[in-house]
C-alpha cells in the first residue's frame, strides 16, 4: 500500500515537472486593430499565433544558459550584452540568493532573448503582436477604453520591484495569457522600429506625420498614456541593453 502511494506521488511529481519544463502556450486569434503608432493604413492585421502563457522565468533561463555556454555571464560577448547582463546571478549557473526561480528572467539582452526563443523553435513577438494581446483585460480582447484597465497598468508602473514577483501573480487575460502587465516590461523582436528616441529626430527619414514629434499628437488614443510609456521605453533601448525590469516571452506561428 505504502509503495503504491509513494509510486503514485512520484508519478504526479514527475508529471508536474515535465509540464513545468515545457512552457505553456495559448492560441491567439488574429484580427485587426489600431495600435498607438499606426502604419500607413493605421489598421494593423495580426495573423493567428501562439504565445507563451508566462514570461520566461529565471529557472528556465538558467537551464538555457547551462546548455548554451555562450550565454553564461562570464562568456557573453560585449557585442551581445552590456555589463549588467544577469547581474544579480551569483555565478554563471546559480541565481542570486534573493532571486525567485519563478520570477521572470530579467537583465537579459535582446540578443539573448532572441536566441532563447530560436532555440525552442519560437521567436520574439513583434510589437504589434505583443500590444494586440496586451490590450485585453480579464474579460474582453480590447480593454483599452476601460478606465480601470489603464489605471491598473499605470499603478503598476509606479510600484517598485515587481520584477521579483513570481509568474502568475498579476492577472490572466482574455486570451489566457498571464502577466503582460504587472511584473516586467518585455522585449519584442522589432523594438528598434520605434522611431521616437531623441536621436531619431535628426537621423531618421521618417514621415513626420507618422513619427516625428508624434510623441503625443500622433497617438491614436490620447488616453493611452500607458502604451505610450512602453513605446518610449522601446525607442530608448539598444539590443545589448539589459534592465532589471525587462524580461521576455516567446511566440510561434
Amino acid at each position: 500500500m505504502n509503495t503504491i502511494l509513494r509510486l503514485s506521488i512520484s508519478i504526479i511529481l514527475l508529471w508536474g515537472s515535465i509540464a513545468n519544463c515545457q512552457s505553456k502556450m495559448v492560441e491567439i486569434k488574429g484580427g485587426t486593430y489600431i495600435p498607438l503608432y499606426g502604419s500607413d493604413s493605421l489598421q494593423v492585421s495580426i495573423s493567428d499565433f501562439y504565445m507563451d502563457v508566462y514570461p520566461v522565468t529565471n529557472q528556465e533561463f538558467l537551464e538555457f544558459v547551462k546548455t548554451n555556454p555562450k550565454w553564461k555571464k562570464s562568456q557573453v560577448k560585449k557585442l551581445f550584452a552590456d555589463g549588467n547582463y544577469l547581474v544579480s546571478w551569483e555565478s554563471d549557473t546559480a541565481l542570486g540568493t534573493t532571486q525567485s526561480q519563478k520570477a521572470p528572467a530579467t537583465n537579459i539582452s535582446w540578443f539573448a532573448a532572441n536566441d532563447y526563443c530560436s532555440s525552442q523553435g519560437k521567436r520574439l513577438p513583434t510589437i504589434d503582436e505583443w500590444e494586440y494581446v496586451a490590450m485585453a483585460n480579464e474579460d474582453i480582447a480590447d480593454a483599452r477604453y476601460i478606465e480601470n484597465y489603464n489605471e491598473y497598468i499605470l499603478s503598476w508602473y509606479e510600484k517598485p520591484k515587481t520584477f521579483n514577483n513570481e509568474i502568475g501573480s498579476s492577472f490572466k487575460n482574455y486570451w489566457g495569457v498571464w502577466d503582460l502587465h504587472g511584473l516586467v516590461w518585455e522585449w519584442t523582436s522589432d523594438f528598434n522600429s520605434v522611431l521616437i528616441s531623441g536621436e531619431s529626430r535628426k537621423d531618421v527619414d521618417n514621415d513626420s506625420n507618422l513619427f516625428c514629434g508624434s510623441a503625443a499628437i500622433g497617438a491614436t488614443d490620447l488616453m493611452n498614456y500607458a502604451a505610450f510609456m512602453r513605446y518610449a521605453i522601446r525607442g530608448s533601448l539598444k539590443a545589448s541593453f539589459t534592465m532589471k525590469n525587462l524580461g521576455f516571452r516567446c511566440v510561434k506561428e
Binding site: S39, D40, S41, K77, K78, L79, F80, W110, F111, N114, R123, S189, D190, N192, S193, V194, L195, S197, E199, S200, K202, D203, V204, D205, N206, D207, L210, F211, K238, A239, S240
Partner: protein, 220 residues
C-alpha cells in the same frame, strides 16, 4: 615566427591598433589600452595581420549567412581583414536612400586609390524580400557601384533585424513598399570593431573619410 628572422637583436613590440601611437615595448604583452596582444613591429609590415582572435565587440561574432549581389553565400567574418564601411538601405527607396547611396559614393571617391583594395563598402538591404541578389546586382550596376570594393548583402528578416541592432539602426516597414530608417554610415576596422558612425543625410563627410583612411593605414 621569430626563429625565422635573421636579425633578432632589436625586436620591439607595438599595439597593432596603435592605441599609444608609436610607443613600443621590448617584449610581448598586451596593450594597456585595448588589451590586444602587441606584435613585433616587423610583423606589422605585412598586410592584414594574421590574428584569428575576434574580440568581444566584433561584428564577426554574428554567425548569420548572407547572399551577395553576386549570388555568393557568405558570413560577415568573410569580410575580415578589410576596413568596412557599412550602411543599411533598400533599393526601392525613393527618399533618403538615394542620398545615402550618394554619400557612400562620395566617400569612396575621396579615398586614395591605393587604399581601396583594403576597404569594403557594404550595403545591407533592410528589405530582404524585395532585394534579391539579382535585384541588388541591377542596383549596383545602375548606381555605378559594381566594382570590387562594393558588396551588397541580402539576409532574412531576423538576421537583418539582428544586424540593425548591432549598428543601432532603427527601421520600420510603414507600407508594403516603404521603410522608415535611420541614416547611419558605420565604419569597422579589419577586426570588425566599430570605430566610427556618421549620422544624418548630407552631413560633412570629412571626419568619416579621415577615420576610414586612418583605420586602413593602421593595418597597411
Amino acid at each position: 615566427m621569430e626563429g625565422e628572422t635573421a636579425s633578432l637583436e632589436t625586436v620591439s613590440y607595438q599595439c597593432p591598433m596603435k592605441c599609444e601611437e608609436e610607443k613600443t615595448y621590448p617584449k610581448e604583452r598586451i596593450c594597456p589600452v585595448c588589451k590586444m596582444d602587441i606584435l613585433p613591429i616587423s610583423n606589422m609590415d605585412s598586410k592584414k595581420i594574421a590574428t584569428d582572435e575576434i574580440s568581444d565587440n566584433s561584428i564577426f561574432n554574428l554567425t548569420s549567412t548572407w547572399n551577395t549581389e553576386e549570388g555568393k553565400s557568405i558570413e560577415l567574418v568573410d569580410l575580415k581583414g578589410k576596413t568596412l564601411v557599412m550602411v543599411m538601405i533598400y533599393t526601392t527607396c525613393k527618399a533618403a536612400c538615394p542620398r545615402l547611396v550618394a554619400d557612400m559614393r562620395n566617400i569612396e571617391k575621396q579615398i586614395p586609390e591605393n587604399l581601396l583594395s583594403d576597404i569594403s563598402f557594404v550595403l545591407v538591404s533592410i528589405d530582404p524580400e524585395t532585394d534579391t541578389p539579382k535585384r541588388l546586382k541591377e542596383f549596383a550596376i545602375e548606381n555605378f557601384m559594381n566594382d570590387e570594393q562594393w558588396t551588397f548583402l541580402q539576409g532574412t528578416n531576423n538576421t537583418v533585424r539582428e544586424f540593425a541592432n548591432v549598428l543601432a539602426v532603427k527601421y520600420k516597414q510603414i507600407s508594403p513598399m516603404d521603410f522608415s530608417h535611420s541614416n547611419i554610415i558605420s565604419i569597422f576596422n579589419p577586426q570588425g570593431e566599430l570605430v566610427h558612425q556618421q549620422e544624418g543625410l548630407g552631413v560633412d563627410n570629412k571626419e568619416t573619410i579621415s577615420k576610414i583612411i586612418e583605420t586602413t593605414k593602421l593595418t597597411n
